[in-house]
């Protein structure tokens, strides 16, 4: 393994009033083929912009081959790191040859213009990416795959030592994607150029990269060989959904896929869940439960409350009380009737006051009927009743077998395990 090519040292970076990269540290060595993966909005593009000095870190240091990027001239930096963005467009009708020439402009300096050597480099990078035959065509007339190769040629003409690609191949069809990947593999191998691929495609990343870096919410969650990073325990958490990871026994490549069917063809009757919520705490529960195919009932909710609106919108069988008023006897009886028919009862992290305390009675009834009850943790912080009555009730419920849940992710997992 070569020397350190790209180093982030405790980097904080982001945009006005919003930190995206949070105390990020990692190192990429020369000659490595790295793939950066992570869900949308996790900071992949911000990382790329920070690495190419488009964004200044708020804190910390970014180094290219041991030199701080801030003290580096633009031209020097471009010799170290080249970036292929997601999409490049020029409103003007440049030909492919003219576009690839752009890669040499910074290096050629203000006064001297392009010389013989520059054209050698340009020609070489066009041959490498197989676009030489397109040199007189208009760039914008080319297909997506060809355009991507032209941009790659332009960046290669910079002769960078690190090549960063920002989702550049995501929108290409499979044969063009592999064509670009083969080119990348080849320059990685032959010129020991460091390749840093930002990608959405987990399977593809595992195929081409020596090492994966998995990011989530501005931090690095895992890094290492693909088979170490692409494991369900890590991925489920990061992508917050159920994923299947399969290894191809022949090629050893890893295939990651989501789960389309919620019940894997089981003909079991869908379980019913009664949700106690309010103030918007139930929306995500409703959404997830209905995605998973549960039959949902809810209540008592106050009309015009955001959970009530959500329940109406999702067609959930819910019991309502008049807006901004305490839950009355009639509504409670209806809710009790519905909750009695449910298999599971879930209490969201809804704050309790005198007005809705009676909803906890539903949980008590469920426990008494021998059903599973899940209550969101931290009741003490959202108990606004006199004398902390809700805390007391929940304590008793837990003593009688009610379980606590902290994250939606875990709750869903537990419920599905029961299923």
């Amino acid at each position: 393994m070569g020397q350190a090519a790209l180093t982030f040292e405790k980097v904080n970076a982001g945009y006005k009033g919003m930190t995206v990269l949070d105390d990020l540290s990692f190192q990429v060595n020369e000659g490595e083929f790295i793939s950066l993966i992570g869900p949308n909005g996790c900071g992949k593009s911000t990382l790329l912009k920070t690495a190419s000095a488009l964004l200044k870190p708020v804190k910390g240091r970014v180094c290219l081959f041991g030199k701080d990027i801030r003290s580096m001239r633009q031209v020097t930096r471009a010799r170290y790191i080249g970036v292929v963005p997601q999409k490049v467009e020029s409103p003007m009708a440049f030909t492919v040859g003219q576009i690839v020439m752009n890669g040499r402009i910074a290096a050629s300096g203000f006064l001297r213009g392009l010389v013989e050597e520059d054209f050698v480099v340009i020609e070489r990078s066009m041959i490498y990416t197989n676009v030489l035959h397109l040199k007189d065509r208009y760039f914008m007339e080319l297909s997506g795959g060809e355009q991507q190769r032209v941009i790659l040629a332009m960046v290669l003409a910079q002769e960078p030592r690190i090549l960063m690609l920002d989702e550049s191949i995501a929108h290409l069809d499979i044969n063009h994607r592999y064509e670009v990947l083969r080119i990348l593999k080849r320059i990685n191998r032959e010129k020991s150029m460091t390749v840093f691929l930002v990608s959405h495609d987990l399977g593809l990343s595992s195929e081409v990269a020596d090492r994966l870096i998995l990011m989530s919410e501005g931090r690095i969650v895992a890094e290492g060989r693909p088979e170490k990073v692409l494991v369900p325990e890590i991925l489920d958490q990061v992508y917050d959904c159920e994923l299947k990871v399969q290894r191809d026994p022949v090629t050893g490549s890893i295939h990651v896929s989501g789960v389309l069917e919620n019940f894997n063809g089981s003909s079991k009757k869908h379980k019913a869940v009664h949700v106690i919520a309010g103030g918007g705490t139930g929306i995500e529960l409703f959404r997830r439960f209905s995605l998973q195919g549960f039959r949902i009932t809810s209540g008592v909710l106050n009309e015009m409350d955001s959970d009530a609106e959500a329940a109406l919108a999702l067609g959930i069988d819910a019991v309502f009380e008049k807006p901004f008023s305490a839950i009355g006897e009639e509504a409670f009886q209806k809710a009790s009737f519905k909750a009695a028919k449910a298999d599971i009862l879930v209490v969201s992290d809804v704050p309790f006051g005198q007005g809705n305390l009676i909803n906890l009675q539903l949980a008590k009834e469920a426990i008494e009927a021998g059903k599973k009850v899940w209550i969101a943790e931290g009741i003490a912080e959202r108990d606004y009743t006199e004398g902390k009555q809700a805390v007391e009730i929940v304590r008793k419920l837990h003593a009688d077998g009610a379980q606590a849940w902290t994250s939606l992710h875990d709750l869903m997992k537990e419920l599905k395990a029961d299923h």
Binding site: K16, S52, A53, L54, Q74, V75, T76, R77, A78, R79, G82, V83, P85, V88, E89, S90, P91, M92, A93, F94, T95, G97, Q98, M101, N102, G103, I105, A106, A107, S108, F110, R112, G113, L114, V115, E116, E117, F119, I122, E123, M126, L132, K135, D136, Y138, M140, M154, V155, Q158
Partner: protein, 344 residues
């Protein structure tokens, strides 16, 4: 050893990476002196070879020559300014006046005329027009950059340019509505634009400014090429995009403000000449800038020759001729050749 030459200039450049057709350039440079000669000789009675021995004809020729120089300078300046604005703003609708140069210059000139400075202080009109044009650009730039924290985006530049222009126009209208009949005539005449020769010294200074501006823009040409892919891509390639944008805007405003201070507001040239040159020779700014300078200058000189002869002894405002005569011709070219210039 390195050969310090631009291989793209060689007819048989390597790889066929030469970006421009040599034959077309040659044809272009044959046409230019012919057209300039034509506009020099064109008088109200048609083309006549002047009798240089007669003092009257010599005076006429000298006057025509001065106008020719004015046309070449102003036309070249406006065209190059248009090229730069179109490249930096990445917008085919950009023209020299897009960032408020016209509004600012117009306001300055109107005040100079109406408040009597013109009569009192020599050269106060061009100086006021120039200064307020440049000041307007800085104002627009400042407004646009405040919202985005640092470099203004292209869109905020265009928007604030348009708005500042509108405010300037309203102020001009306000002043004009208060003005006397004579002042009104002067303002309108100035705003229509004309190429009546200004003093020799002013021409000299203007030529210097325009030369600096066009030279500076040419200097930035290959970087302007890279900049058409957007500021981020240019940055990735190691180009100091912000500096190029700043430098380009300065050059463009310098030449446009100089042109306006010489000849008032002549429309159309700065918008359309860059398009035609681009359609004929491609979008490479290393060629586009010098060719637009020459092409725009020639175009305006020819238009002016018509303007002063068509219904002589009355002079048609040259801006009318540029639009009326040039428009259809350019539309024809654009229709056939647009593919070579812009996408779409």
């Amino acid at each position: 050893m390195k050969k310090y030459q631009d291989t793209t200039l060689r007819p048989a450049a390597m790889l066929g990476l030469n970006t421009i057709s040599g034959a077309r350039v040659a044809l272009f440079f044959v046409c230019v002196p012919l057209l300039l000669g034509f506009s020099l000789l064109l008088g109200p009675t048609g083309m006549l070879w002047p009798d240089l021995d007669s003092p009257v004809e010599r005076a006429i020729m000298s006057l025509r020559f001065s106008r020719l120089v004015m046309g070449v300078l102003v036309g070249g300046a406006l065209s190059v300014s248009g090229v730069i604005f179109q490249a930096i703003l990445r917008n085919p609708l950009a023209e020299p006046y897009v960032l408020g140069v016209s509004g600012g210059a117009g306001l300055g000139a109107t005040m100079a005329i109406l408040f009597g400075a013109v009569a009192a202080v020599p050269l106060s009109l061009p100086i006021m027009a120039f200064a307020s044009a440049v000041a307007t650009l800085f104002l627009v730039y400042w407004i646009a950059s405040r919202g985005s924290g640092g470099m203004p985006s292209v869109y905020s530049l265009i928007l604030s340019g348009v708005i500042v222009s509108a405010i300037c126009s309203s102020l001009i209208m306000f002043f004009v509505s208060m003005a006397s009949a004579e002042g009104l005539h002067n303002v309108i005449w100035w705003m229509l634009g004309n190429l009546q020769p200004v003093s020799f010294n002013q021409r000299l200074f203007s030529a210097l400014f325009i030369g600096i501006g066009i030279g500076g823009a040419w200097f930035l040409a290959s970087r302007l090429n890279a900049l058409t892919f957007g500021r981020e891509m240019a940055h990735y390639q190691g180009i100091n995009a912000d500096a190029v944008i700043m430098g380009g805007l300065l050059c463009a405003t310098l030449v446009a403000a100089t042109a306006v201070s010489m000849a008032g507001m002549i429309g159309f040239v700065g918008l359309i000449v860059p398009h035609v040159i681009r359609a004929m020779f491609g979008p490479d700014h290393r060629w586009l800038i010098p060719l637009s300078a020459v092409g725009g200058g020639t175009f305006l000189a020819v238009c002016d020759a018509f303007a002063r002869t068509v219904i002589a002894p009355i002079e048609v405002p040259v801006g009318v001729v540029t639009a009326l005569a040039g428009g259809p011709f350019f539309l024809l070219i654009l229709q056939r050749k647009m593919k070579n210039a812009w996408i779409g």
